[in-house]
C-alpha cells in the first residue's frame, strides 16, 4: 500500500509541478492545490498506513494507527485552504486590475 501511495504522490507532484510551470495563473493555483494534496498523502504515508484501528479510544483495539500525522495533516489542510483562497482572490483581483491572467505578461514593472 505504501509503495503505491508513494507513487501516487509522485504522480500528483509531477502533475502539480507541470501545472505550476504554466503561463495561466489559474493553472498555477490549481497546481498548488494539487501539491498540497500530495503532501498530505505523503505525511499520511510516512506515519505508516493501516497499522492499527481508527484512533478513537472507544473502538477497543490493541493498537491504533498513528494519530500524530493525522493531526498535522488537519492543520496543513486548513492552512492550505487559507492560502489557496487568498491566492484565488488575488488572481481575480490581478485580472481585474491588469486585464491579464497570463504570467508571461505579468512580469512586473520594468526598471529601465
Amino acid at each position: 500500500m505504501e509503495t503505491i501511495i508513494t507513487i501516487l504522490v509522485g504522480v500528483l507532484v509531477t502533475v502539480a509541478v507541470y501545472l505550476l510551470l504554466s503561463k495561466s495563473l489559474v493553472r498555477v493555483i490549481l497546481g498548488t492545490a494539487i501539491l498540497s494534496h500530495a503532501v498530505h498523502l505523503l505525511l499520511m504515508t510516512m506515519g505508516g498506513l493501516k497499522k492499527g484501528a481508527v484512533p478513537l479510544l472507544g473502538e477497543n483495539a490493541e493498537s491504533y494507527t498513528d494519530a500524530l500525522p493525522q493531526a498535522l495533516i488537519l492543520t496543513a489542510i486548513v492552512i492550505s485552504f487559507a492560502v489557496t483562497s487568498f491566492l484565488l482572490v488575488l488572481a481575480y483581483r490581478t485580472y481585474k486590475e491588469t486585464g491579464s491572467d497570463n504570467l508571461a505578461t505579468l512580469r512586473g514593472f520594468k526598471d529601465e
Binding site: 478513537l56 488537519l74 486548513v78 487559507a82 482572490v89 481575480y92
Partner: protein
C-alpha cells in the same frame, strides 16, 4: 431570469436545518468521536454556503445579521483567551482542564476548557469562510 427554483429552496430549508444541527453535534462530540471545533465549524459554514448558494446575500443577511469578521475575531480571541486563562490560574499557557458536572437536563456532563477553545476555533472557521465568500460575492 429569476431564480425561481421552488424545489431547491424548499429542500434547502430542511437540509440547512439538518446540517446546522449536525454541525453542532459534530462540534460537541469532537472529544470522543470524529469531529471537533474545526470540523464542526466547517460544517456550519458549509450550511451558510448552501444558504448563500440557494438564496442570495440580501435574503440571508436579513436572517443572520452578523458581521462575520467580528465573529471570526471573537473566535480567535476565545481560542487565545482560553490559553491565557490557564496562565491566570498559574498553569502553563494553554493548559486545558476538565471536570464533571451534573446538569439538570443533560445529566452527567463533562465541561472542559477544551470546549471553549474548540468553540473559538469553530467560530473562527465559520466567520472566515463566510467572510471570504461574502467578500468575493459582493465584489460584483
Amino acid at each position: 431570469m429569476k431564480i425561481n427554483d421552488v424545489i431547491l429552496q424548499t429542500v434547502t430549508k430542511i437540509v440547512v436545518f439538518i446540517i446546522l444541527t449536525f454541525g453542532v453535534e459534530l462540534f460537541l462530540s469532537g472529544h470522543y468521536n470524529p469531529g471537533g471545533g474545526f470540523i464542526g465549524g466547517l460544517v456550519l459554514s458549509s450550511a451558510f454556503v448552501l444558504l448563500y448558494l440557494v438564496f442570495d446575500i440580501e435574503t440571508v443577511h436579513k436572517g443572520i445579521p452578523f458581521d462575520f469578521k467580528k465573529v471570526a475575531a471573537f473566535g480567535v480571541l476565545l481560542a487565545v483567551g482560553t490559553g491565557l486563562g490557564s496562565v491566570l490560574f498559574g498553569a502553563s499557557f494553554l493548559t486545558q482542564t476538565a471536570s464533571h458536572f451534573n446538569l439538570p437536563v443533560f445529566g452527567a456532563t463533562e465541561l472542559s476548557t477544551v470546549m471553549l477553545f474548540e468553540a473559538g476555533v469553530a467560530l473562527t472557521v465559520v466567520g472566515v469562510v463566510v467572510t471570504i465568500i461574502l467578500s468575493i460575492s459582493e465584489d460584483v
